[in-house]
Symmetry: C2
Subunit: 491 residues, 2 copies
């Protein structure tokens, strides 16, 4: 009872009971909260965030962590990993006053429906006032946390511990020209790729998506799939991981790939020790590692000839409209590359160009180099430079993403890290387990799934992202495997 480690476990559990509850309130806000319930929901979330912040930042918690640090846990033990994680989180949390936490939670909860309305109307000015509030809050948080080079780093650290914007700038600068080289090849090859047309009833999409998600390893006894405006994955509690997607009756690929993507996140969440929920050893380490799992299943498994040769007959049973296309035409369609406005619908090659635009813009916004009022103009100018396309309106431009409304600033860069990590982990898995290639041809995913479970999911927060990449793949995050796979696909 007096062991400081056990005290931390108990406190973590108490916090997790409230944080899990808050996750469910968020999920419910996206899936079905009635319009008039929005203001109260913001108050609930704000109240819960204040309570959990107070519980975690209490001075006694710092004392317990220090006591644990004085003990000699084996460095590879769960105990040691938890103590390291608590220290990281505690030092970060105690720098932010509880009032700011409550205010930020309330603001971002209210911002959600304002953003939805602004996007519907394609009217940035409707969103600008609350966005200004959010940027002001995250700037204040960044200044509380402190940073060496860039205010962006203080925010990025919360999503990707150890990452720094100057390293990302170097990485992206080398990545970009090579990606543009591949783009040339991919555009050439895409000339012959069809766009699938037909009627794909939503009930059939629901059934097919569930079949695929189950096959790759998502556990429906411990999860579910719902419909939202913006797909996401959340885990409100142990044994309860929820994915969302959106349906277009004219395009079954959109919901399928978003389900495979979110199922990748979901399997990571289902793969950490559920009994450790709320402790570092029950939590994913970073978004860049998280995104490696989602991109892996969506792109490296889902957009391949092996996948479509196996799944085509089942898909054609669900969707009679698909029968007018051959399996290789479907595979060509899902790999069709074409510059477009919407990030979440971007192909595998242009996707990272969307990220680089956001990475640059957010840093300039945070530093005040781009005023909020100028965001639409700057976005459109930068977009035209990268993609050669004129943005028709803000809903196809700076209003498209949910992130800013949710206060997720400094977050986008982790998507590109995810692409790179995914490719690097996948090529390591293929090298270590040569049987995977054959299994994928026959629709079996167990070896790949189990490798990710052992090497990534089970690790939870035991290692920092770059420690994990080095330990599992032998190298820090790099662009080679990702580019090599794209080149192989489009040459």
């Amino acid at each position: 009872m007096n062991d400081p480690y056990q005290k931390l476990i108990r406190r973590s559990r108490e916090i997790a009971l409230l944080e899990g509850t808050a996750s469910l309130l968020h999920w419910d806000q996206e899936t079905g909260l009635p319009k008039n319930g929005i203001p109260w929901r913001a108050e609930e979330l704000s109240h819960l965030s204040g309570m959990t912040h107070r519980l975690f930042t209490a001075p006694e918690v710092g004392g317990w962590i220090s006591e644990c640090e004085a003990k000699t846990y084996a460095p590879e033990s769960s105990e040691a990993a938890n103590v390291r994680g608590w220290r990281r989180n505690y030092d970060r949390a105690t720098k932010i006053p509880v009032e700011l936490v409550e205010e930020h939670t309330r603001t971002t909860s209210l911002a959600n429906s304002i953003w939805i309305e602004a996007r519907k109307r394609s009217d940035f000015s409707h969103f600008a006032p609350i966005l200004a509030k959010i940027f002001d809050q995250v700037r204040r948080m960044a200044d509380c946390w402190g940073y060496e080079d860039s205010r962006y780093d203080a925010l990025l650290e919360g999503y990707e511990p150890g990452a720094r914007s100057k390293d990302l700038t170097t990485l992206f600068a080398a990545f970009r020209p090579r990606l543009v080289d591949v783009l040339g090849l991919a555009l050439e090859k895409s000339k012959f790729a069809p766009v699938l047309e037909g009627d794909f009833p939503i009930a059939a999409q629901v059934a097919f998506n569930e079949e695929v998600a189950r096959a790759i390893g998502f556990d429906f006894d411990a999860g579910r799939i719902d419909e939202t405006t913006h797909p996401f994955c959340t885990r409100p509690g142990p044994g309860d991981t929820r994915l969302t997607t959106r349906y277009d009756p004219g395009n079954f690929l959109s919901s399928l790939f978003s389900v495979m993507h979110e199922a990748g996140h979901g399997m990571y969440e289902q793969g950490v020790d559920q009994d450790a929920f709320g402790t570092p050893m029950g939590s994913a380490i970073s978004l860049g590692i998280h995104e490696s799992q989602s991109r892996l299943w969506e792109n490296l498994v889902g957009r391949t000839p092996d996948f479509w040769n196996f799944w085509y007959p089942r898909a054609a049973e669900h969707f009679p409209a698909l029968r007018k296309y051959a399996p290789d035409q479907v595979c060509a369609a899902v790999n069709r590359v074409s510059p477009s406005f919407i990030r979440v619908e971007a192909d595998q090659v242009t996707y990272d160009l969307h990220i680089m635009l956001r990475f640059d813009l957010e840093r300039r916004m945070l530093e005040g180099d781009v005023a909020l009022a100028d965001v639409p103009a700057v976005w459109n100018e930068e977009f035209e430079k990268s993609f050669g396309l004129k943005v028709p309106d803000d809903s196809h431009g700076c209003l498209q993403d949910i992130h800013w409304s949710a206060g997720l600033i400094g977050y986008f860069a982790t998507y590109s890290l995810g692409n790179l990590n995914g490719a690097q982990l996948y090529s390591t898995a293929l090298r270590e387990k040569p049987g995977i290639a054959g299994e994928l041809k026959s629709g079996h995913y167990t070896t790949l799934f189990q490798w990710m479970r052992d090497k990534v999911h089970r690790k939870a927060s035991a290692l920092l992202p770059q420690e994990l990449m080095a330990s599992v793949t032998g190298r820090p995050t790099g662009t080679e495997d990702h580019l090599a796979m794209l080149r192989a696909k489009y040459s």
Copy 2:
């Protein structure tokens, strides 16, 4: 800031933020919680119940209430009503130790899925162990609260303030023979009533139900309808009232009437002052008054020739299968009386016989006169005495209702009070507003809705149930109006 009334308002708001959250967790448990998430959900609900209990039963709260009682608020003011309500609730809550509250919440949360499984298997022995725990807990609570005549009264008081089982026994003893008289007439008349057969697609049921619920006055900007095993209504927060129903593709009436029923509850919840959420003046006064609203819309509005003459054309558009029946055949079908096993599907006449069985049995169970192991046998014996039918299995007998699994013991009697209150309020409304009868013929519900809003909903907890009935109808709850309406219908 130092005003004790304002302190109570602030504390109530803090509690309401947590209790509203708990309501949403309950709703989610019924609508879609994955199987493996059940144990954690029980912990969350238990934790929240402990927190709210501690917040409300803190000694300072008692002090603030006493200070307010020393002030001279106008007796009809909201302040006075809130102080009376807080006192009632505080004296009741402080008698129960927080550990018992947490244990009971955890147990009933876990019991839900055990009951569902037992009912599916029709196996009372699967449910019996946790039911024994629940009965033990409510007995301990009843003994904490204390009572004069019957332990049942201590529980009943929580659902229907001021009601006593000896009065109900007297009421039911006079009610029963008259009901049985009507039953004879009703069975005779029902010989000629058809059972509607056909295919009633669920999507069409959803659309028609929503149209009807909207027409009678349920506000979808502040509410929604979902699907569950057992229909219910809950309000997780201001502007957020949720109804549930269940669908049978062979029978659209089942979901329609349960939606009208739950919409009656929902309109009451939407009709109290939303800004007072969590205070007595933002809460319904009792279940017997609540049920008056649901039975009113379901039966007194929904099962009439006026209703079906107006709605038949819309219903027939949604359900082509309905076109083979004339409007008066539909009306005969919805009023068909026939003894049956399942309470929630019972007709308007036999319904109260189901309640009387439960009222008697629960009292005997609470006193230990009926051992839990004997419940199925006693149920079946009593059922045969009342209904002349042999219960085929426990899922059609003592396992049919959700209430015991949820710890809702001493609750059923309020359903019959609701039937009686509903008829009494409705006949008062018709007398005071003679225009209502004409409006109902043309599908307009505003005058009836507004009368209920003014006379019942807006009153919230200002008056105790029998004070409300006396003030609005001039009499305490009686059987006359209900029996007169049934006689008029079936003579």
